[in-house]
Amino acid sequence: MALLSIENLHLSIPSFEGEAQILNGVDLSVERGQICGLVGETGCGKSLTGLSVSKLVASPPARYRQGAIRFDGQDILGLSEGAMRALRGRRIGMIFQDPTTNLNPLFRIGEQMVDVALHSMGANRWSRSALSEARARAIAMLERVGIQDAHNRLDDYPHQFSGGMRQRVLIAMALIGRPDLLIADEPTTALDVSVQAQILQLLFDIVREDNIAVLLITHNLGVVARLCTHVAVMYAGRIIERGTMADVFNQPSHPYTRALLNAVPTQKTRKGTLQGLGGSVPDPYLPHPGCRFAPRCAIAEARCRDAVPSETDLGHAHAVACIKAGDPA
């Protein structure tokens, strides 16, 4: 039984233009010790998939039309807010994109960390011993994410930290409750390239040490290649290919995955030969029938436009949602 499994998740959000079909049957599972990269272009539903796992998508207005999210056997979508809160920060940690806006600017980082630590301990806020225990945990966690002089820096405000340091603080906050699952939504996108590598390495080391399952949401294939054990490629609200890192990167079976990998420049790429992908993402309000990728697909046929392709199992948990996957190349 996987720690996290998302089954056929459908999510739609009403707006002035109609009902936007955001997720259209997401299937995904993450085991303990796995780092699963969720990749796809902007607007494909990666972040909303991550937020759904913590039940942070306001619903209503959003509506889960079908499917389920199971965390350690529990049906997340059926949990009450109170029961969900007992999972957040304790069993599920989250890190977001921009470290400059994810810390409250008016509070010392120690205060913010202690509140999260107190919640994760399930302790009484007014107990002095719990407070000092929470503070000790905050210091230990800050040291673990590589913040020097953690004892004193606890009393600093967010603006006294650099971007990379703030992301370290946020990682420490997300992991202070020793969660089983970490959802990291573009954790390095807002950082300098030189800092990105450090943060990724730090994240990698900690989740390996603590055997944490990670859902790493990113649009950066380089990050996936460096860190992840598994990959799920998302397009227009659906996972179109998933499998181990090696399988998906070495034998990409969906034309979209191939197009994504081709679009990454390498040292061998000659000037003028970089390949992009024509067209744009389909309209979420008026989805056409059939494979969502068909209008941009180089190998699409008439039958691709008739029905939504189901997942084909290619073995070793490598699955692809393309009716041509089984065809001889």
Partner: protein, 335 residues
């Protein structure tokens, strides 16, 4: 910190020079002769001339200004032509009365407006929100003097819960004067009866005065809370399991309050200068009534005294507000 305060206090000097010049010039180029008005219709030309000399109004304007400005520095705020009383002594009586009223009004507005705004924001587009929005719109639209009359009709005339007007019953013994604000003075003297009496008198005028800042604070608080609730850090706080009440009452409140603080500072100045209507209805012996009497008789000195003291308090209040920003926001503090 101390450097910041000193710098701001030094900035007060040009503000006051400008203020005195402006008020002095305007009051002296107005048509009409205050001395003639004060002397009365039966006064002879000689009497008027001698009065004019007595008040120094026969001298050239720059000289009069100089005399006034140097007098101010020595605590001499001039003399009322009409009553012959020194302005400084009058202000000592009337200013605390108005200050007490204004502070009570703003306190009421904060104590009710902040929770109402928060409530309105977290129940956005549901009935508690609609209710607060309608009430605050209505209270901005309703004139203060009208509300004052309604309050008097209901609470003083019909229900007889509160005294109709005035500040303190003449037959009772007021507490010894320290600040001039009766509520504070009676507390300082430990006189519980005087405290409740002065609170009873204060309540209705303060309520009438607080209505429009209350409505504004509520709406400001609602808008800024809604804005803060959209911030990334609130999502992080929720994602890591902090309770809704902790997030709202601790984290969101402080962020949302900082933009409301500016409005509070501005309102104190606005209430000080606009206190006259409420003071008239409730017969509250404050600077509003004092200034109005002086204006209709063209008695310059009290008008200038009132203007200067309002200006002084306004600048001082905004200095305090700026310091409070530093308490709320660490970024302001370190700069």
């Amino acid at each position: 910190m101390i450097k910041f305060i000193l710098r701001r206090l030094v900035l007060l000097v040009p503000v006051f020079v400008g203020l005195t010049l402006l008020v002095f010039t305007i009051s002296h180029i107005l048509p009409g002769d205050p001395v003639k008005l004060a002397a009365g219709p039966q006064a002879t030309a000689e009497e008027i001339a001698s009065l004019t000399r007595e008040f120094g109004m026969d001298r050239p304007l720059p000289q009069q200004y100089w005399h006034y400005a140097t007098g101010l520095l020595q605590g001499d705020w001039g003399q009322s032509v009409l009553t012959r009383r020194p302005v400084a002594a009058d202000l000592k009586i009337y200013l605390p009365a108005t200050l007490e009223l204004v502070f009570a009004a703003i306190l009421l507005a904060i104590l009710i407006g902040i929770p109402a705004g928060l409530l309105s924001a977290i129940t956005a587009n549901r009935w508690p929100d609609y209710l607060t929005r309608i009430l605050s719109l209505a209270s901005i639209a309703m004139p203060r003097f009208f509300l004052a009359l309604v309050l008097q009709l209901v609470f003083a005339m019909s229900l007889a819960w509160l005294p109709l007007n005035g500040r303190f019953p003449i037959i009772d013994l007021p507490p010894p004067t320290v600040t001039g604000m009766l509520t504070i003075d009676s507390l300082l003297a430990g006189d519980w009866l005087a405290f409740t009496t002065s609170c009873e008198h204060l309540l209705m005028p303060a309520l009438a005065m607080s209505l429009s800042p209350l409505a504004t604070i509520t709406r400001m608080m609602r808008a800024s809370t809604l804005d803060v609730l959209q911030q990334d850090y609130v999502l992080t706080e929720r994602a890591l399991g902090l309770s809704q009440s902790l997030i709202i009452l601790k984290y969101v409140l402080r962020n949302a309050f900082s933009s409301t603080l500016t409005v509070i500072g501005l309102y104190i100045g606005w209430l000080l200068s606009g206190s006259v209507l409420v003071e008239t209805v409730f017969d509250w012996p404050g600077i509003g009534l004092y200034a109005t009497k002086a204006i209709v008789t063209q008695d310059f000195m009290p008008v200038m005294g009132v203007t200067l003291s309002i200006g002084f308090i306004f600048v001082l209040v905004n200095l305090v507000i700026d310091l409070l920003y530093g308490v709320i926001s660490p970024k302001v503090r370190y700069q």
